[in-house]
């Protein structure tokens, strides 16, 4: 019998029961809750007279709607305010721990989970948000669910699931200087497409992945969903164990030693069988910039906007033409000739301390270009904000002309007041460049934090690996 993949191990460890058709009742260790996808689930519990199966397995935080300025004044938009207040009320009523808007631990749910040690290696983790895949970076099975499933997990601590297939993506060798986790994952999506991972759980492996910090691995797994996979994984190693030591919710004392020992097994066996393996050469990956309205429409920064006429697949050609029209770009234009109006550094993809440090290195001693209307830095959590301030990063950003904000999802999806106006172009460290994502009629280019900071300083995209400022 061949060995097991990491995904096989995590799956087998959580199966409560399997039906004849292969669908399984899967036990969920950690449920993260936020304000947007939970109100209807709590309402469902209330109507059916049900209670949470295990209150302590749930952790809630408001992130999508929260303002990033003037927190003390509350939320101006009454519709947003009602949604956040509804979360507060539901958590109080059902006995669920919530980090409220004034709590220093508040932040983006996928940043807060690992930071608190609330999401740990070996767990099954779900949340009513597709970027739950982020938590797979710690060797946990983590995936996004809809609101009906949020209610299901609350009521039963389980989900009915069918096992996905195993896809191994190996990134061999070392990346060049200035090439980050974000560039690796964008290059992967550019090659396999946004549907490339449909039906699979992706395990990311290879030297370039092992070389990443936990923060970098989270960036990669975060965007597994942009490649179509509900879950992304990275095997546990010393980097993982060191990261989780002494986090507030991490196991303590003897529990820690037992957990640490168990976590050592959280990797694919040498003879494990994958349904598909795709390999990449890290050295050939350059800083990436998306040019279209899907994350797969991406090129290296030293390339040009592609020509749909050269695409032979008619459905794809049509998508490319539509994307170019929406983005107001012409084929053949050099990426470095694209000027931007706004810059957004933040989101569950790139708002951790390492991301802020990378952007600050670029911004230090420089000024945001005159054509930039707004350059935002939004830390992923209150604790990251404090950490950055203790390192003086806030000062570097504000001296350069960036705005330094309070934590939340912010302009990644523009549910709060931070957004693009119609026709505005943004260099963004977020995860989706869909039409209207950052604001009605707004145009998004996805990049790494260093590339976004450099675009703010130069006023247009530059190749961070050769740029001299």
């Amino acid at each position: 019998m061949s060995g097991k993949t990491l995904y096989d191990k995590l799956w087998d460890d959580h199966v409560v029961h399997t039906e004849d058709d292969g669908s399984s009742l899967l036990y969920i260790d950690r449920h993260l809750v936020h304000e947007v996808t939970s109100p209807q689930a709590f309402e469902g519990l209330r109507l059916a007279g049900r209670k949470p199966w295990l209150q302590t397995r749930n952790l809630a935080v408001a992130d999508h709607n929260v303002p990033t300025t003037d927190r003390a004044k509350g939320i101006a938009d009454p519709v947003s305010r009602l949604q956040v207040e509804t979360l507060d009320k539901n958590c109080a009523e059902f006995g669920i721990t919530e980090f409220g808007m004034a709590d220093v631990r508040q932040g983006i749910v996928h940043v807060v989970g690992p930071e608190q040690g609330a999401t740990l290696p070996g767990m099954t983790i779900v949340c009513g948000d597709s970027h739950t895949s982020t938590h797979g970076a710690s060797g946990a099975l983590a995936f996004g669910i809809g609101t009906s499933e949020v209610e299901h997990v609350l009521a039963t601590q389980c989900l009915v699931q069918k096992k996905a297939k195993n896809l191994l993506i190996k990134v061999n060798g070392k990346t060049g200087v200035g090439v980050t986790a974000k560039d690796i994952v964008l290059a992967i999506i550019g090659k396999i497409g946004t549907a490339g991972g449909n039906g699979y759980t992706i395990e990311f492996a290879g030297e370039a992945i092992r070389d990443l910090s936990m923060e970098g691995r989270m960036t990669v797994c975060n965007m597994a969903i942009e490649a179509g996979a509900r879950a992304g994984l990275v095997a546990v190693d010393d980097v993982t164990i060191d990261y989780y030591r002494d986090r507030p919710y991490s196991p303590k004392g003897n529990d820690w030693f037992m957990a640490e020992r168990a976590w050592q097994h959280l990797h694919s066996d040498a003879d494990a069988k994958f349904d598909k393996i795709i390999e990449f050469d890290a050295a050939s990956i350059k800083p990436q910039v998306t040019w279209g309205t899907s994350p797969e429409l991406v090129v290296a920064v030293n390339e040009n906007v592609p020509d749909p006429a050269l695409e032979t697949d008619l459905v794809k050609q049509q998508s490319m033409k539509r994307a170019l029209a929406y983005m107001d770009l012409k084929p053949g234009l050099a990426i470095t000739d694209i000027a931007v109006d706004k810059v957004f550094i933040g989101s569950c993809t790139n708002s951790r301390i390492e991301d802020l440090r990378a952007a600050a290195v670029v911004a230090k001693g420089k000024k945001v270009a005159d054509n930039i209307k707004l350059a935002l830095v939004v830390p992923g959590s209150g604790l990251i904000k404090l950490q950055a301030e203790s390192e003086g990063l806030d000062k570097i950003f504000t001296d350069a002309g960036f705005e330094w904000r309070d934590p939340g999802c912010s302009m990644c999806l523009a549910m709060n007041a931070d957004r693009l106006s119609e026709g505005e172009r943004c260099a963004s460290t977020s995860n989706r460049n869909f039409e209207g994502r950052q604001g009605y009629g707004g145009r998004t280019h996805l990049v790494s934090p260093a590339m976004a900071a450099a675009a703010a300083i130069a006023g247009h995209f530059v190749d961070i690996t050769t740029w001299e400022g």
Partner: protein, 211 residues
């Protein structure tokens, strides 16, 4: 949940690949704390020429006449025919809620994003995967008034000229959809199994059960 047995209805063609959930229901409408009422805002940015906001009365908003669902011949369509990777992007269940509220009962495509696909079944909406060539053939033969019959029990689609196309669906999902069953009630019937699992797991991973 609403059961799905047999549906005979008009088909609307949405000839685009990678239709994402931000397109199906833009984020401003996600601020609602209700489950109903998303139909008027389905495909909001494609359907209307102005910018939609929650609670907006849509009756007098300027329509994008080129958008398929605004064309009179597709009024009342309950089956959506579209291209690959439909529903990609976020996990928002507001996407199937909006499609359902608008009146759609089934979606036919060569592939769906996994989370969206899963969410459909929780809302009595049937996503049908056919081979890309079969979807292409349906796009080609679609004319004004084109209707399909979808028979879930038989796992069959019948075209107006009497052709039948079989489709796959897993048994558990089919059973739950045919009978409109509440997933939570079914799972709670297995409460003893869940409790036994917790006891056994607590021995293997005590740190997860120590508080």
């Amino acid at each position: 949940m609403k059961a799905f047995t047999t549906v005979t209805a008009l088909v609307a063609p949405l000839d685009r690949a990678n239709v994402d959930t931000d397109a199906i229901i833009p984020k401003q409408f996600l601020k609602s704390i209700r489950r109903a009422g998303f139909g008027p805002y389905l495909f909001d940015e494609w359907r209307y020429l102005d910018h939609g906001e929650p609670e907006m009365d849509c009756t007098n908003r300027p329509l994008n006449k080129d958008f398929v669902l605004n064309q009179p011949e597709y009024k009342g369509a309950e089956i959506l025919l579209t291209r690959e990777n439909f529903g990609c992007g976020s996990s928002r269940e507001h996407a199937p809620w909006a499609l359902d509220d608008f009146g759609f009962r089934a979606i036919i495509a060569p592939s769906f994003a996994d989370i969206f696909y899963n969410n459909c079944f929780k809302n009595g909406l049937l996503p049908i995967v056919l081979a890309a060539e079969q979807v292409d053939a349906l796009f080609k033969e679609l004319v004004t008034g084109y209707q399909l019959t979808i028979d879930l029990a038989a796992q069959q689609i019948r075209t107006p000229n009497g052709r039948t196309i079989n489709f796959d669906i897993d048994e558990t999902r089919k059973f739950r959809l045919l009978n409109g069953l509440d997933d939570i009630a079914l799972t709670l019937q297995q409460a003893d199994k869940i409790k036994s699992y917790e006891i056994e797991r607590a021995k293997r991973a005590p740190w997860l059960f120590s508080h």
